[in-house]
Structures are given as structure tokens and as C-alpha cells.
Amino acid sequence: MLNYIWFGMIVLSVICAFFNGRLEALSTAVMEGSQQAVELSFSLLGSMCAWLGFLKIAEKSGLTELMASAFSPVIDRLFPEYKKEKAIKGKICMNLAANFLGLGNAATPLGLSAMEAMAKKNREEGPTRGMILFVVLNTASIQLLPINMAVMRKACGSLAPFAVLPEIWVTSLASLLVCVLFCKFLERGKGPWNK
């Protein structure tokens, strides 16, 4: 899938730039893009190390397991195949909690660690239902207080930076519900992800 998307993005950009006369801008974009990626990796490296370090402490002390059992009613329903995998459930919990609290920097490292743990258990060629649902949840937003957005609005002169909070809650909840229902519907059908 990503093969096609990546191919499409690049080929269409080249064709489009050719007809728009933006080929020069495109060649700088290639160089800048790869440079930006390295910068991004380095900033990610920092937050990865820091957060995985703290995650290890939380795991060793039993804190993640405590969280996993506290959120079991929700997690077990979303990820039934990992019902008995306390370590994986703990990592999933930590990622979802970081997302909920709006700690984007923490959510990615914690989520990657959960993905690696799920991949280790998986013997199939493709991802499991749980892995798919987990990634889809991470593409939706489940943030309680969108602080960044409020800060942006305030910086641009908004008189009520938090006025759109109910709208954001309703919209993100609706989008999240659509994602989960779609995944759960497909999980029922026949497919290689159900092996």
C-alpha cells in the first residue's frame, strides 16, 4: 500500500511541477526534504530515548501493569487478542494516555514501543487486527485539552481561545467512532488479518 502511495505522491509531484514550471523549486525540495528528515529523526531520537527510559521505569515498578488493569474494560474490548498480554496492554495504555493528555512527543515513542512488542508476538506476514486498530487510533485525535491549538488561537488575537472546545470534542469523538466502528466491522469479515 505505502509503495503505491509513495510512488503516486512523487510521480504526480514531478508531473505537476513540470506543467507548473516549478521544477527548480522541486529539486530544492528534494534536498531540503531529506535534510529536514534527518533533523526530525534527531529530535525524535531525543524524545525516544527520554520517553522509553521513563517507560522502562514505569514498567519495572509495575505502574504500567497497574494502568493496564485499571483500563482493562476499554482495552480488552478494543484489543481482545491481547487480553492476557499484560506488557503489551501496558504499553498500549501508556500511548493512549499520552495522546489523551496531549503529550505528542511522548505518544510516538510509547506507541512505537507498543508496536514493536505486538510485532514480536505476531507470526503472520501482515499486521494483526490489534496493530491496525492501534495505528488507526493514533491517526485520530483523542486529546482532552488541545493546548497547542488554544495557544495558536490566542497568539493570533482570539478573544476566547478555548471557545471551540466542545466542537473539538464532538468532532474528534465522531471521527474516532467512525475509525473504531469501521475497523471493528472489518474485523468480523474474512481476511488475512483474522488468522
Binding site: M1, S41, G53, F54, L112, E116, M152, T171
Partner: protein, 173 residues
């Protein structure tokens, strides 16, 4: 409100550390063990990120986005979505920094408390950078097939576009 955001991170770190320390975990040694795993994961991600960011900057610089907006115009007009929101809806799933910059420009043009400004706020805040999450999350475990991941995620993004327009029109103002 902003103070809550600023306090959340130190409070959580403090709680994790304190809990571990009280339980007799050798906190610094354990931290280092975890951090070491972070290095490996981050290095593993570098090629994925280069491929992704490269493609995203190319799409942005080539004018492909404007072309797609024009192509989508009849559909979005029929749905009552204003033309200024369409680029944001297309940009949001592929580029976090790009969509933030575009939201800022909408705030400057229309004002953050206008209808367009509010829709932009709701849309940006109720979705994540979909393609970044998918490539990065599947980048660490290298699966070729993603099955229904992309359709599910995009369906959620579409729901957010429709939801942001509807909620701002019905709930606010």
C-alpha cells in the same frame, strides 16, 4: 489553562519516577536501559522518515495540492465547505507543520474567531498527521501489507472535516 499544559509533563515524569523509586527500582540504570532501546528504534526509523518527508515536501512544492483543491472544488462546494478549508483538509493528514502554518494564515486573514477560523481550529485539533503516524508506526515493524489501515484512517479524517463544519455551524456562533 496553559499552566495546566505546562504542568502536566513534569507532574507525570515526577509521578513515574517517584513510584519507581518507592518500589525500589534502580531508576537511573533502568532509565538508561530503556533509553538504549530508543536509539535503535530511532535509527531504524531514519530511512522511513527520509522517504516520507521527501515525498511530502515534493507534493507541497510542486503545486499538486492546489491542483487537487481545484479538482475537489465541485464536491466540497456541494457539501457547503468553504474553499479556504479544502487545502487544510488535504494538508492536515500529510504534514503537521504545513497545516499549522496554513491554519495560522487563515487566522491572520479571517481572524481566529470567524467561522472559517473556528472551522480551521476544530479541524486541525481533531485529527492527527495520518500519513506520518502510519508510515512511522509501520516503519518500525516493516509490514508490506497494511490491509484496511489507510481507508480506516482516511475515513476518520473525512468524518473530522464534515464534523468540524457541522459542529461550528450548529453549536457555536
Amino acid at each position: 489553562m496553559e499552566q495546566i499544559g505546562a504542568a502536566a509533563l513534569p507532574a507525570i515524569l515526577g509521578a513515574i519516577l517517584l513510584f519507581g523509586f518507592c518500589r525500589g527500582v534502580p531508576v537511573f540504570d533502568t532509565f538508561l536501559m530503556g533509553a538504549k532501546e530508543g536509539v535503535a528504534s530511532a535509527i531504524k526509523l531514519l530511512p522511513t522518515l527520509i522517504g516520507l518527508v521527501l515525498a511530502v515536501t515534493m507534493v507541497r512544492e510542486s503545486g499538486l495540492l492546489e491542483l487537487l483543491c481545484e479538482a475537489a472544488a465541485p464536491v466540497t462546494e456541494a457539501l457547503g465547505i468553504s474553499p479556504e478549508i479544502v487545502p487544510l483538509a488535504l494538508l492536515r493528514p500529510i504534514s503537521g507543520s504545513g497545516s499549522s502554518a496554513y491554519t495560522m494564515s487563515l487566522f491572520h486573514t479571517f481572524g481566529p474567531d470567524s467561522e472559517t477560523g473556528k472551522i480551521a481550529s476544530v479541524l486541525s485539533a481533531s485529527t492527527e498527521t495520518t500519513f506520518y503516524a502510519i508510515t512511522v508506526y509501520f516503519g518500525v515493524c516493516r509490514y508490506k501489507k497494511l490491509y484496511y489501515t489507510v481507508p480506516a484512517a482516511l475515513l476518520g479524517d473525512m468524518a473530522a472535516v464534515v464534523g468540524s463544519v457541522l459542529t461550528v455551524r450548529w453549536m457555536g456562533l
